[in-house]
Symmetry: C2
Subunit: 168 residues, 2 copies
């Protein structure tokens, strides 16, 4: 007869298979998505003429640079954990990942929102985009949209990490 | 002899006394702080001349309005729970609070950051503040600073709620 443990409510094995957990294929896909979208946003913004006219666009490039480095590093960690079948679910690793994820996510959202605010000023409030043809406003918009996608993917990872940390 | 329960690791009573929990005095203080700072930010921005020149400033007013309503509602809920000594730590209440808190927090951060981005454009990138004296740029700055404080207090509540939801 199978003995049911009285503490079976803790359900650690179920928690570990959460979508996007570190050291899982879904986690790796999420990290690679973050890295790709952030890199695309950075490249598009850096290639746009006149991006240095607004400080927010320079901030977006810096924030996306930080996100590329962070997500690429964690994608490498996931690959390492998958290859060696390592378990990354310990308190110290998860705490570091939660802090890093949240700082990067807030930075990315702040950069994307401030750039979006500047875009609205340029396109609607002052109409600089129509007057100055040297500014590639369409390119700025694409970059900001990519930054929002990159932030969204990072936010998913951040919530999963925080949930895992709170439930171990 | 005291019997130690094998599942004592769950520590529910400790979790409930977390700083800023719903139905606690610390939670009520946090909600009142959020409500006050958001209302102050809204009032300062609405009293500034020329705030309607930038869409982001109107968005800030809307977002702070939402935060005032949300935080005021939850402050009332906390007072109700404190007076009747009710327990708000159940899954449905916490899930609703987590969703509401996170939506409001992201909205507030987006509004504060986009307004800050526009402020930088007005003060540094284009120098509109120096040219157009009808814009009360100092007042805009105070409002954006208050919005960041209101967002920070809401972010603390959001993390506490999410932590509680993950650990019950």
């Amino acid at each position: 007869m199978a003995i049911i443990h009285p503490c079976s409510k803790i359900q650690l094995p179920e928690m570990k298979s959460l979508f996007g957990s570190p050291g899982k294929v879904s986690g790796l896909v999420l990290r690679m998505g973050q890295c790709l979208f952030a890199a695309a946003s950075l490249a598009v913004m850096a290639s746009a003429s006149g991006f240095s006219t607004a400080t927010s666009f320079c901030f977006l490039i810096a924030a996306m640079g930080v996100q590329v480095l962070w997500s690429f590093g964690l994608a490498c960690l996931d690959i390492h954990a998958l290859r060696l079948n390592k378990d990354l679910h310990n308190h110290i690793v998860l705490s570091l990942l939660v802090i890093g994820d949240w700082v990067t996510a807030i930075l990315s959202l702040a950069a994307a929102c401030s750039s979006a605010g500047v875009m609205v000023v340029f396109m609607k409030d002052t109409g600089i985009c129509r007057l100055e043809t040297t500014l590639s406003c369409k390119t700025f918009q694409i970059s900001v949209a990519l930054a929002f996608v990159a932030w969204f993917l990072l936010a998913v990872s951040s919530y999963v990490m925080f949930w895992l940390l709170a439930s171990i």
